[in-house]
């Protein structure tokens, strides 16, 4: 190889190196741009730096050891939760009752007019009113399956 050819080749390597550095600058600017313009990007990047591609929420920080260590005890006073859960059960019984009524109204078939109403059957007041009635309806509903 002549001295000129070698110089040309070296120049080419240098040029490519400089070009590569420019590309790195572009990549860095793209990251900086996203960090400035997109608040969530830092969350995503933080997750990626922890080796995760979780989207949209911070990486969970609780370690398995910490999570598994002291078992979370049930609350001492559980009366409110017991009442709330009983209301949920009653809501289901009430929905059974409404479905049964719908079936009776439609001769056992057809579109449910209760569909939309069933969604609203969450009022504890309404639930309390039918509490006694649903006891019998629950059995009827179970038989219907």
């Amino acid at each position: 190889m002549t001295i000129d050819a070698k110089a040309a080749k070296d120049h080419s390597v240098v040029e490519r190196w400089i070009e590569d550095q420019r590309e790195w600058q572009k990549t860095a600017m793209t990251y900086l741009d996203s960090m400035v313009k997109n608040d969530d990007f830092l969350v995503h990047l933080g997750n990626a730096m922890r080796g995760s591609l979780l989207a949209g929420k911070p990486y969970p920080t609780a370690s398995p050891a910490a999570a598994a260590a002291p078992a979370q005890e049930a609350p001492a006073d559980d009366r409110l939760d017991r009442v709330l859960f009983a209301l949920h059960e009653m809501q289901g019984q009430l929905n059974d009752l409404r479905l049964t009524l719908d079936e009776l109204r439609n001769g056992g078939k057809g579109k449910p007019t209760a569909t939309s109403r069933a969604k609203k059957a969450t009022s504890s007041k309404a639930t309390a009113k039918v509490r006694r009635r649903t006891t019998g309806a629950r059995k009827a509903g179970k038989k219907r399956g």
Partner: protein, 361 residues
């Protein structure tokens, strides 16, 4: 050119190549990080047709925003300890969407996220309450007395018990990665056993935190929670196409998105079906005060297991033929999540559609 010049040039070229590849990985990472992972909800347009407590019953809609009325109904029952949209993850990556497009009126249960009071929910609340009323709602809406049920993981257990209690309402049953033999070692039941689930109280239950439930899953894949391991895996994966990375991101997001679990339900599952108990394999168990005879499951049943399932070992799922002899057992390559929503999931979707569409024999 001398040998040392050649070596120097080769080194420079190698350095440039290394630099180029590293930059390409970072550019691909940027592309992935600036596009959404999953929607945090189902991908297919749907309408809510029933709600109860945290449960929502969704009915998938077609391209014109209408339900596929008149088509055979299919109800998907996902596991209540994870997010429902694993069966409807992304456009083109939706099990439920695929079944709907094949000509079925598809409904999906979203059990929602339990809160403190839901720790009292037991098997009867799920099977004879939420699942039964969801099926009832579907039969009422569609006018079909018997519908198809597809249960995934623990949702499969609920579906199996329901089908045994109310067989006349189930036309066909598909169980996906559903353990029935609790004595098969490995899997989430054994991990939970070792993590102290045996001590979970039925009478005074707690709401088991999502982080604790997740830790059981992580124990099944040692190293998955190691920082070095995860970063190294991710750096290696950045050579993959961006579309593949988005899939990985989507699946990782779902896997990390575990919800809290009702302690009473876990205690009951463990006491009845866990290692050493194993009442499903006796063919008889109970839900609430009702006796469940698995011999009542006479509808066509397809049970699908995954070869590399670390959560529900395939031997534990395939054992269904010992209690429901007419069950068709299919073992597919892949893992617990991959067979439902991974790159190879299409084979499961297609097989399920064929099973649901085949004439009842």
């Amino acid at each position: 050119m001398s040998t040392s010049d050649d070596e120097q040039e080769r080194e420079l070229e190698a350095l440039l190549e290394l630099s180029r590849r590293g930059r390409a990985k970072l550019e691909r990472l940027h592309e992935v990080l600036t596009t959404p992972g999953h929607y945090g909800t189902g991908a297919t347009p749907a309408q809510v047709v029933y709600t109860e407590n945290k449960l929502r019953l969704l009915r998938l809609l077609d391209e014109s925003g209408q339900p596929r009325a008149g088509k055979p109904a299919v109800l998907f029952v996902p596991a209540p300890v994870s997010r429902y949209f694993i069966v409807d993850l992304l456009p083109g990556r939706s099990f439920a969407g695929h079944v709907a497009a094949a000509g079925f009126d598809v409904f999906v249960i979203d059990f929602g996220t339990p809160t403190s009071e839901d720790r009292y929910a037991d098997l009867a609340y799920y099977v004879d309450g939420l699942v039964r009323r969801s099926v009832r709602m579907v039969t009422t809406i569609t006018g079909q007395p018997a519908i198809n049920v597809v249960g995934y993981c623990l949702g499969g257990t609920l579906s199996l018990l329901y089908s045994a209690l109310y067989p006349e309402t189930v036309a066909r049953l598909v169980l996906l990665t559903t353990m029935v033999d609790g004595d098969v070692q490995g899997g989430i039941a054994w991990v939970a056993h070792r993590m102290g689930l045996e001590g979970e109280s039925y009478d005074n239950p707690r709401l088991v935190p999502a982080a604790e439930v997740k830790s059981w899953f992580e124990m099944l894949a040692p190293g998955s929670n190691s920082l070095v391991g995860r970063v190294s895996d991710l750096w290696d994966r950045l050579d993959d196409p961006a579309a593949r990375l988005r899939d990985v991101r989507t699946m990782a997001t779902w896997v990390d998105d575990v919800v809290p679990a009702p302690g009473r339900l876990l205690a009951e599952l463990y006491r009845k079906f866990g290692p050493g108990r194993n009442s499903l394999m006796t063919g008889r168990t109970t839900v609430g005060t009702r006796v469940v005879e698995l011999a009542a499951v006479r509808m066509p049943l397809l049970s699908v297991s995954a070869e590399k399932d670390a959560i529900a070992p395939p031997e534990g799922a395939d054992a269904i033929v010992k209690i429901v002899p007419h069950a068709e057992v299919l073992r597919l390559p892949g893992g617990h999540v991959g067979i439902v929503a991974g790159r190879t999931a299409a084979s499961l979707w297609q097989r399920t559609v064929e099973f649901l569409a085949s004439p009842r024999g």
